[in-house]
């Protein structure tokens, strides 16, 4: 039925993931029963990494779609293309995943327009089918197929929230930035930085997270901390590395910058 190369979607190398709780086991249980999964949490806290890790662990191909607000249903499902002598159907990522039995990961799903998200409904309940109305085809999802979506409830505006009818089709994980000790371990494992230095980075990260809502929309993410750790590991002066990777990206507010810079100075003295 499909000529798609399943292997290309496989995650080959184990992505490092440090569990915060028993989410790994829970995800496995959800997958065993092919329940759709929703992953919530602030940006850069490890949502995508978790999904990647699970795909690797389960040995299934992973198809990731980054959603944006101009995305239409046909971007997910597929469309006809014009050719010199007629038209040709091209499967969208969701259709491909359903055909080959991959885990389809729709990242930042709320960014997509609400009418778009409705197309996933039939795949997420007992039917597990995907109707291609334009093509006149009804796809039965492959037994291995699973749908995973993620979104960030924090910075979304009022207008961008999932419909209840969508939300109620998923089991959900609530992610947050890990606690200080765990985050230190993560930084150390991910980049090979020593724990003491990693602990300092985590402290700076928490400084910024305390400022959320007072001029910062979102604190410093674990991802940015990893960037900083990577730079330091590469021999960059820690203070400069932090300014470059932790402060400059997240804000243009001079007062906040100065406060964070001070925190960096005070921590690395």
């Amino acid at each position: 039925m499909s000529s798609t190369d399943k292997e290309q979607y496989k995650v080959r190398k184990e992505p490092y993931y440090q569990a915060q709780g028993n989410e790994v086991a829970l995800f496995e249980a959800a997958y065993r029963n092919r329940l759709p999964v929703m992953v919530k949490g602030p940006t850069g806290c490890g949502k995508s990494r978790f999904v990647e890790h699970m795909a690797w662990k389960l040995g299934k191909p992973l198809i990731t779609v980054a959603c944006n607000e101009d995305m239409t249903a046909s971007d997910l499902v597929g469309r006809y293309l014009l050719e010199a002598n007629g038209t040709r159907w091209l499967d969208g990522p969701l259709t491909t995943a359903a055909r080959i039995g991959a885990i389809c990961y729709l990242d930042e799903i709320v960014e997509a327009r609400q009418d778009t998200t409705v197309v996933i409904h039939p795949l997420t309940d007992h039917r597990r089918t995907l109707p291609l109305d334009k093509k006149g085809e009804l796809i039965e999802a492959h037994p291995d197929f699973q749908l995973v979506i993620s979104y960030n409830p924090g910075y979304q505006s009022l207008m961008k929230d999932l419909k209840q009818s969508t939300k109620q089709r998923f089991t959900a994980f609530d992610f947050d930035y890990p606690d200080a000790a765990l985050e230190t371990t993560i930084l150390a494992k991910e980049t090979g930085l020593d724990e003491a230095l990693a602990g300092k980075l985590v402290k700076i990260g928490q400084t910024a997270r305390n400022l959320k809502g007072h001029g910062l929309d979102e604190g410093i993410s674990t991802r940015l901390l990893v960037y900083a750790a990577t730079l330091i590991k590469d021999g960059v002066n820690p203070v400069e590395a932090c300014q470059m990777s932790l402060v400059r990206p997240i804000t243009d507010d001079a007062d906040i910058r100065e406060t964070l810079d001070h925190a960096i100075d005070a921590t690395f003295a």
């Binding site: 006809y80 007629g86 925190a263 005070a266």
Partner: protein
């Protein structure tokens, strides 16, 4: 008595006296002393010029005072300006006097200023400002000590000249005839001004005074004598150093970010309290810190660089220290300890929290150590002076600074014990208190009781006064009534604009009483905005529900209308689909265009809060006052409206007779629902009466100026309009009704939310059908936003 009768023994003195050529007895009396001082400072050449200048001043016809002042002050001026120079030789070469070095080899800088000063004096003499010469000369030396360089002095003279030129009066363009009223005062205040301001700041301060009071002699005097409020305010604004007002937000972020703490920061003034130097402290009402910190310069140890601690870092050190106490200090019972013991405990505890703070952020150590004094071992003589402070300050230094270098074995022993105590963890206040008491006992000396106390190098100025560290079982006279509830006093100055007058409707005569009510408006004072955040958190579930409602209302400014046969743009997706259909042989959809429609809400909303005394009453059995419930309700509403993006303003009002209707801005239309607004809302207080009509008219004055299709004035009140000076109940009700009608004509829709269960009797009369009575006040927080949404749907 004449100079001829005076005989100086020394020929030189004789020559000098002759050169001075004066007959003033007062000068003669002190001449020898003056010359002794002058000879010590001035070179021969300089002395010559000095005497010449004095002679000229003596002959101005202004009496003896200017001459005496000059003779007394000038050597100090030369000294002050000269000492600051490091390269006297170069300076002297460059000076107008040419290359001739003065005999004494002293710098000639001060000398070089003399022609400038003399020229300036002559200018004053020729203008009507001759009387200002004396004050000018009298303060010249202290001014010079502040300025320290010739260039600076020239700028000072320039500022003074500018002030004189611009304020010397000329009536109707006639010749200058009136002396500048502010000039003598300016000279008198100059030393103080320069201790607070840079020259640039001084210039701005002078400019402000000249610009505003040029034609107002009395006010000008007040201004330049630092008597008027705005004079002090401008001084405050122009002060050197880091002003609290400029860094307030940074400090707030610092507290939140680094310490996960926050409180209301309240500055106290350091400018005008010379005797009783205030010290930082914190209490229930907030953290008190100075309004300005200068940069702190720690002179280098030999071979090192100077350490500069910025004003901002000094603020941070002060706040960090307080945070340390808030985190780790538990209050101790003070009654059984002597003042000395308490002082020792305070020093030890201060060191403990600072050690813990530095563990958290090692970088703080640099700041603390730079700001902490370094008392010299042995500087204080225990035979004559009470050295307790000195001992404790040394110990404090030793506890913080491992490289203290003190030799005293007891001190080193206690430093070691202190570190051992803290090695295992944060320890606690009681443990260090024990250590402190034993230290006091071990080092006690008879001389500690002496009245002469060694203070030098013992004051750690970033530490607070530790008032939170003590609790007293018996109420002593030491305690102040800090926490007493503030009451709004009549006559309390409201800082704000001058009053606006509004008419009031007299229903008996069916006429307006013109300009009857005086409305004073101002910004609502600020409190702790966190309080509001907590309230919102409490209503998180309700907020979620509201959010859904808001969602439906939320305007999508541009709405895309697709599938149009004719429209402004080609809808590419649809067009391609049609083309595909066409190629595939099906009938294509011709609706391939799209267009846009604006779907905006254009409504300006003003919420007017009745802040009268009755709000302090309990609402039912909830234990909350109506005021607190209103606060919750308004917070939620403000939050909701912010989500919607409608222009929204909040103001409160109360009145104390028609002469004093207060209108307090809580949120302006252009302000967002931010910390500033929240802090104002948090400080909301109730008092006095309800003169509703005047407040409504004033609100309409703002609302009417908005450019919006629809304007809504919401009034939240708990009773009928009334005031103490109005005996007739109906009068203010009728006036409010009239105000509603007026507002109607301005197309402002008025709506009343009444919390008075008996409101039916009168509210109908005022607002017609535009009102709601909320009987169950406890449900106000959810009712108010819902009502608003229903009204604006």
């Amino acid at each position: 008595m004449t100079s001829a009768e005076t005989e100086y023994q020394h020929p030189l003195m004789k020559a000098y006296w002759a050169q001075l050529d004066t007959r003033f007895k007062q000068v003669e009396d002190v001449f020898e002393d003056l010359m002794a001082e002058a000879l010590a400072i001035l070179g021969r050449e300089e002395l010559h010029h000095y005497l010449d200048a004095a002679r000229i001043i003596g002959k101005l016809g202004r009496g003896v005072e200017p001459m005496l002042a000059f003779l007394e002050e000038w050597p100090s001026v030369v000294k002050a300006l000269g000492e600051a120079r490091t390269a006297p030789l170069l300076a002297s070469l460059a000076s107008p006097q040419g290359g001739a070095l003065p005999a004494s080899g002293r710098p000639v800088d001060g000398e070089a200023v003399l022609p400038d000063v003399m020229a300036f004096i002559m200018k004053m003499q020729k203008s009507p400002n001759g009387k200002a010469i004396t004050p000018f000369l009298q303060t010249l030396a202290p001014v010079a000590r502040k300025l320290l360089s010739r260039e600076q002095m020239a700028i000072y003279l320039e500022i003074a000249r500018d002030l004189m030129d611009r304020t010397t009066g000329s009536v109707h363009g006639h010749h200058t005839t009136f002396p500048s009223p502010g000039l003598p005062w300016f000279y008198a205040q100059a030393p103080f001004l320069l201790s607070q301001l840079t020259l640039a700041g001084l210039k701005n301060w002078v400019d402000y005074g000249v610009a505003n009071y040029r034609h107002h002699p009395e006010r000008q005097e007040d201004y330049f004598n630092l008597q008027s409020a705005d004079s002090k305010a401008v001084l405050q604004r122009e002060r050197h150093g880091t002003l609290f007002a400029d860094v307030e937000r940074k400090l707030d972020l610092y507290l939140r970010g680094l310490w996960n703490d926050s409180d209301h920061l309240v500055p106290y003034s350091t400018a005008f309290d010379e005797l009783r130097k205030p010290v930082p402290y914190y209490d229930k009402l907030g953290m008190r810190i100075p309004d300005v910190y200068d940069d702190f310069l720690l002179p280098a140890r030999p071979g090192g660089e100077d350490t500069r601690i910025s004003g901002l870092d000094r603020y941070r050190a002060t706040l960090a220290h307080m945070v340390g106490h808030r985190r780790w200090t538990t209050a101790q019972v003070a009654d059984n300890w002597s003042p000395f013991q308490r002082m020792a405990v305070e020093f030890f505890e201060d060191c403990r929290v600072e050690t813990l703070l530095c563990r958290e952020y090692p970088g703080l150590k640099r700041i603390f150590l730079a700001l902490h004094p370094q008392p010299r071992e042995g500087a204080c003589d225990p035979e004559t002076t009470s050295c307790l402070r000195h001992r404790l300050a040394m110990l404090s230094r030793a506890l913080l600074d491992p490289e203290h270098g003190y030799q005293d074995p007891t001190l080193n022993d206690y430093a070691a014990r202190f570190h051992a105590l803290l090695a295992g963890g944060p320890a606690d206040t009681a443990a260090v208190a024990d250590l402190a008491l034993s230290y006091v006992a071990r080092t006690r000396r008879q001389s500690d009781q002496f009245a002469k106390v060694w203070f030098e190098d013992t004051v750690v100025d970033y530490r607070d006064d530790n008032r939170q560290m003590w609790k007293f079982i018996e109420e002593g006279d030491e305690e102040d009534a800090f926490d007493e509830k503030r009451k709004i006093e009549p006559g309390e100055e409201l800082e704000g604009l001058p009053p606006r007058h509004y008419p009031e409707w007299d229903y008996k005569s069916q006429t307006y009483r013109p300009d009857w009510a005086s409305v004073y408006e101002g910004l609502h004072p600020r409190g702790n905005g966190n309080h509001i955040d907590k309230l919102l958190l409490k209503h998180a579930a309700l907020a979620k529900r509201l959010k859904r409602l808001l969602d439906l209302l939320k305007p999508q400014d541009k709405v895309r209308i697709r599938f149009q046969e004719e429209g402004s743009e080609l809808d590419l997706d649809v067009a391609i689909r049609s083309l595909i259909d066409f190629k595939g042989g099906a009938t294509p959809d011709p609706r391939i265009n799209m267009s846009h429609r604006t779907d905006g809400r254009d409504i300006a909303v003003m919420l007017l809060l009745d802040l009268s005394e009755s709000l302090n009453e309990q609402a039912g059995s909830s234990g909350q006052t109506i005021l607190e419930l209103s606060q919750e309700a308004v917070s939620l509403l403000a939050w909701a409206v912010e989500q919607l993006g409608d222009p929204f303003a909040i103001a409160g009002f109360h009145s104390n007779t028609r002469h004093d209707v207060r209108y307090l801005h809580v949120k302006g239309f252009s302000e967002h629902w931010d910390d500033e607004v929240k802090s104002r809302l948090a400080a909301m207080e109730a008092g006095w009466s309800t003169r509703m009509g005047a407040a409504m008219r004033h609100a309409a004055h703002y609302l009417g100026a908005r450019k919006a299709d629809k304007k809504l004035l919401l009034i939240l009140t708990d009773g009928q309009p009334s005031d103490v000076d109005s005996q007739d109940e109906r009068l203010l009700i009728e006036d409010a009704r009239q105000a509603v009608k007026e507002l109607d004509q301005e197309s402002i829709f008025t709506y009343c939310i009444s919390l008075d269960p008996k409101a039916d009797e009168y509210v109908n009369d005022i607002f017609g059908r535009q009102y709601t009575v909320i009987d169950n006040i406890q449900r106000l927080p959810e009712k108010l936003p819902e009502l608003f949404l229903a009204l604006t749907k």
